[in-house]
């Protein structure tokens, strides 16, 4: 009898705790402006890590970080990932900072301490209820493994490398046109100087 009472008390306390957590979460609203609470972040990360099978977590990257592989991955990252994560991986972009949860700084230990297999799994399969889509198709994909190497390289990125990524960042036709107008404007001094020289 005492055992049953204890069990029911534990179940009731658990249900009350879950209800309180749910109530507080709902009362905070569903705006994407907030940051997840510490408890929500802990639960979400634990669930994510538990969802990755051990064989995937311990998988080894079939690629080596050669200049060629890193170059390809850099261009791929600029084209597919930088809109949210930024070319430097900081996540400090308009979209990245307004997602829920916000795009993480990939250079920090929270990402860098994950195994290669975990990072691959996240890129390939995405993360449910976040802004992270599943990039991989059916089966294994080489692009995601190459991106893992680039993410490992992010903490050592040079300004020159970041500059080289810019042409690969997605832009609308209007943005490209505006960029060309700006370049033309900045170069006008040079063209007028050249015209003057030719005239003399």
């Amino acid at each position: 009898m005492i055992k049953w009472t204890l069990l029911l008390s534990i179940i009731a306390a658990g249900a009350a705790g879950a209800a309180a957590f749910g109530w507080v979460t709902i009362r905070r609203g569903f705006s994407a402006r907030d940051n997840p609470s510490a408890l929500e972040a802990f639960l979400a990360k634990t669930a994510r890590n538990l969802s990755i099978p051990a064989s995937e977590r311990d998988a080894k990257n079939p690629f080596a970080p050669t200049a060629e592989v890193l170059g390809e991955a850099r261009a791929h990252f600029a084209d597919h990932c930088a809109t949210c994560h930024g070319n430097d991986g900081s996540g400090k972009t308009e979209i990245g900072q307004n997602l829920y949860p916000k795009a993480p700084d990939l250079r920090q230990s929270e990402t860098q301490n994950l195994t290669d297999g975990q990072i691959y799994y996240i890129i390939h399969n995405g993360i449910r209820l976040t802004g992270m889509p599943a990039w991989g198709g059916p089966g294994k994909d080489d692009d995601s493994w190459q991106l893992v190497l680039f993410i490992r390289h992010l903490p050592q990125m040079t300004p020159q490398e970041m500059k080289e990524m810019e042409p690969f960042n997605p832009k609308s036709a209007a943005e490209r046109s505006e960029e060309e107008d700006e370049q033309r404007f900045l170069n006008e001094d040079k063209s007028s100087e050249m015209k003057k020289k030719m005239h003399h």
Binding site: D79, E94, I95, P159, K163, E166, P167, F168, K171, R176, E178, E179, E180, D181, E182, Q183, F185, L186, N187, E188, D189, K190
Partner: protein
């Protein structure tokens, strides 16, 4: 069915509108005055525009990293700025001739 289509269309339009308001304004013109924390630019169309600089402001001369010291009165400049309160704050300041950016298809 029509209602669902309408709802989907409204959602798509709302999402478009949410991302449509770019916060940055691009100020293009010649530098007419400078202080330690501001750049005044004479644009083609309007009165002079004063943009304030911040510690985070990035400077780029001919595509390479530079500093405010490299900029002079009379230079052509393109400033990517954001409105904060009633002030325009510079995120990026570009000046000097630049090579044409190779666009990706």
């Amino acid at each position: 069915m029509k209602r669902i289509t309408l709802l989907v269309a409204m959602f798509v339009l709302a999402a478009g509108a949410a991302f449509a308001h770019g916060k940055e304004r691009h100020v293009m013109g010649k530098v007419t005055a400078m202080t330690d924390s501001s750049i005044t630019v004479q644009t083609k169309a309007k009165d002079p525009v004063t943009v304030y600089t911040m510690a985070e402001t990035k400077y780029e001369k001919s595509g390479a990293a530079a500093s405010m010291k490299d900029l002079k009165v009379g230079d052509r400049v393109v400033i990517h700025a954001e409105k904060m309160g009633d002030k325009l704050m510079a995120n990026e300041v570009h000046f000097g001739v630049v090579a044409k950016t190779p666009h990706q298809s």
